[in-house]
Symmetry: C2
Subunit: 145 residues, 2 copies
Amino acid sequence: MGVFSKTCEYAMRAVFYIAHRTIDGSRVGIKEIAEQIDSPEPFLAKILQELSRKGLIQSVKGPNGGFYIDEICLKRPLADIVTALDGEEIFSGCGMGLAHCSETNPCPLHKEFKKIRNQITQMLHTTTIGQFNKDLLLGHLTLKK
Amino acid sequence: MGVFSKTCEYAMRAVFYIAHRTIDGSRVGIKEIAEQIDSPEPFLAKILQELSRKGLIQSVKGPNGGFYIDEICLKRPLADIVTALDGEEIFSGCGMGLAHCSETNPCPLHKEFKKIRNQITQMLHTTTIGQFNKDLLLGHLTLKK
DNA sequence: ATATAAAAAGATAAAAAACTCTTTTATTTA
DNA sequence: TAAATAAAAGAGTTTTTTATCTTTTTATAT
């Protein structure tokens, strides 16, 4: 088990892929995306459908259609993707699974886990979807395997 | 989805509970543990069985039997519990789910996620199972809900 | 020895997550 | 306007996780 669900992992890889492949205004098809980020195609299709419905990515049907990400969405934080698919829990949940864990009613790990949560939150809020376009184009970063 | 599985969450709460309830050499039954940490009793039984089999906690059958944790195990890091149930992934896995992500072949989140992983690792390795006994007895910490 | 208490083991069930397949709808281009 | 393309939608299936139930084994106290 990772920190994020498989769904979320595929989604993060996919949006970074789409972002760097469509900066020229073109679109990229599900087949290419799935291949290049090494994910099951029909499953990824479902995920991108959901993101598209929520307006976090854009899509066009038909010939020359596919997925792309507009200027506004390129500037959105990665946190928006995570929230859309995995919910808020990662940003606020108790490390030991307690529903009412808080400053005044803390679990044993509360203080230490808070630091971790904050760091995850920080990472996801400061990272934008378009942030790695250059490095991906230059082949400095990987999204596959 | 939290950072740890439900299994692991229940386990962490349970070992802290058992630890602080058996410092006098007594044992505590599954029913009490389940009630006090707010977990499904038969499911928790399975988890404790596993931990007992792996020698991370101790148990005695029959009247006046139950679970306890010996001196040696009280000093073990919480990481041992997590590893026994959730495996190594949390300590080494890539944030985006890539199997071959590394320094030389990094995913976009590699650097930032490494900090998070390190902090989780640090927390789990420096926290011991018996560490909160005092504060739990004094009611300063909660394991329930 | 026997009764009893309590965990271990094994088998099963329910729910959630991950994944697949088929049909429909929208768009383009010939 | 027909054919082709590509995503959307809907309806499964499989696998994993979470949870339950029943029977067996072991230890203890009487």
